[in-house]
């Protein structure tokens, strides 16, 4: 009696194990890697009839040199050089999600957002407003909050279709450029934070196609900054002033500043790193002001000024010139964003809120009036540390 009970017990356990192995493999959600269309980057544009045009760059995990065809309600463009392994597909819909569904119809593989590193908003769409579309980026479990966001001059679709100079595809190229911080570096999380904050303004790096240099094959690069208010693009800022913006946002990693020291005829170029910027707010009565304190170290890399960096007084003049240049850039950034566009892209609102919450609550609703009135004092303390290898 005992023996047979034992055996049937074992049989049951065995049956259970086999049955559970079917359930445990997650059959319903199995996704083989070669059944996936990996989205490396996506471009979002406003189509002619005010719908959303979604262009995605899909990584194809097979031999390079294959050309993909196109079909039906969208189109596929292939950048056909041998080292390209991506293809761009476009589809139009009422929302990103809708367009993504239409996109899925074109593709034999399942759209997978997990590797999406780059999102580009086309200029028209940016002017129309991006707030609605960003909801998808946060709500859908696929896209990553760490992906970088850009605004493109012209259509995002064109940017996505361009080849990249040195990287495998333009999505990687843009990502690397964002990381090296030649311009602003904004990811989805930061964009959502800007949209949610009381500042009412957002800044995103602006991407243009390089038409200057014919050999570059027209690859896209970061050419400035797009300024948005409440998610709608209201203006753009050039490369020179973008530097100033980056200083104010404390997002300068390293930079090269070229300037003419006072009273000399030649240029000096210095490489700055270890840059730190502090915004110190203060409220005296009705007057709100912020002191911008910049500290950084500089090494000379080119000296045409005739000044001798090893001689203390002349080195001082070089240093002064350096600081003046930094202040100038910041001034120009303030002139553009604060006075001309009335867009708080520097986070002054948060700066005041953190130190003076009670006064801030009173002014919160009228920030767009108060913001241009904030007085900004710049004190730049960049120290010339090393003259480089040459001692002249």
């Amino acid at each position: 009696m005992n023996g047979s009970a034992r055996r049937s017990g074992m049989g049951l356990v065995l049956a259970l194990l086999v049955a559970s192995s079917i359930g445990l493999t997650g059959c319903w959600d199995r996704q083989e890697v070669n059944d996936l269309a990996l989205v490396m980057g996506a471009g979002l544009d406003l189509s002619e009839d005010n719908k959303l045009e979604l262009s995605v760059q899909i990584f194809v995990a097979k031999q390079a040199g294959d050309q993909q065809g196109s079909a039906g309600g969208g189109s596929g463009m292939s950048s056909g050089t041998a080292k390209e392994q991506t293809t761009v597909y476009t589809a139009t819909g009422d929302t990103i999600a809708d367009a993504a569904t239409k996109l899925q119809e074109l593709l034999p593989r399942k759209v997978f957002w997990g590797h999406g590193e780059v999102f580009v908003f086309g200029e028209q769409l940016a002017k129309h407003g991006i707030t609605d579309q960003t909801d998808f980026l946060m709500r859908h479990p696929g896209p990553r909050l760490g992906a970088f966001v850009f605004v493109s001059k012209g259509k995002a679709k064109d940017v996505m279709a361009r080849p990249s100079q040195l990287e495998r595809n333009i999505s990687e190229g843009l990502r690397e450029m964002a990381k090296s911080q030649t311009g602003l570096r904004v990811n989805v999380k930061e964009l959502m934070q800007m949209l949610k904050s009381d500042a009412g303004a957002e800044a995103l790096p602006l991407v243009s196609i390089n038409k200057r240099n014919p050999e570059s094959n027209q690859s896209p690069f970061i050419s400035g900054t797009a300024v948005l208010k409440d998610g709608k693009m209201v203006g753009q800022i050039d490369e020179y002033t973008t530097r100033g913006i980056m200083w104010l946002r404390n997002s300068v990693k390293e930079s090269v500043i070229t300037f003419k020291p006072a009273g000399s005829n030649g240029f000096v170029s210095a490489h700055l790193n270890r840059s730190k910027v502090r915004l110190i707010p203060s409220i005296r009565g009705d007057e709100w002001s912020i002191r911008v304190q910049i500290s950084s170290e500089a090494n000379l890399i080119q000296n045409e000024s005739g000044l001798d960096p090893l001689e203390p007084r002349q080195a001082n003049r070089i240093q002064e010139g350096l600081n003046d240049e930094v202040s100038d850039r910041i001034e120009s950034a303030l002139a553009e964003a604060q006075r001309k566009m009335d867009a708080d892209i520097f986070g002054f609102s948060d700066t005041f809120r953190r130190s003076y919450p009670k006064q801030w609550e009173r002014v919160k609703k009228n920030w767009s009036e108060k913001f241009p009135q904030v007085r900004v004092d710049v004190s730049s303390d960049v120290r010339l540390k090393r003259p480089g290898f040459s001692g002249k």
Binding site: A5, S8, G9, L12, L16
Partner: protein, 75 residues
Amino acid sequence: MKLLFTLSLALIVWGLFRYDWPRMNAGMKKEKTAFIGIIAVAAFLSILLIWFPRIPSAMKMIDLLFGPLGSILKT
């Protein structure tokens, strides 16, 4: 779909009995009663949920009891 679930339910109940019943043979009457009783309740609830998915949930029932207090916290 519902039929499939009901069938698996029957299978589970059968499995439960097969596994445990032999171990309770030493005259543990109380345990046997409890065993059957709980399975009965669980099976009843499951069948209810399979065939009438829209019945008010347990939380809804507690809501009925504590409704007004809960809305205080809704601030």
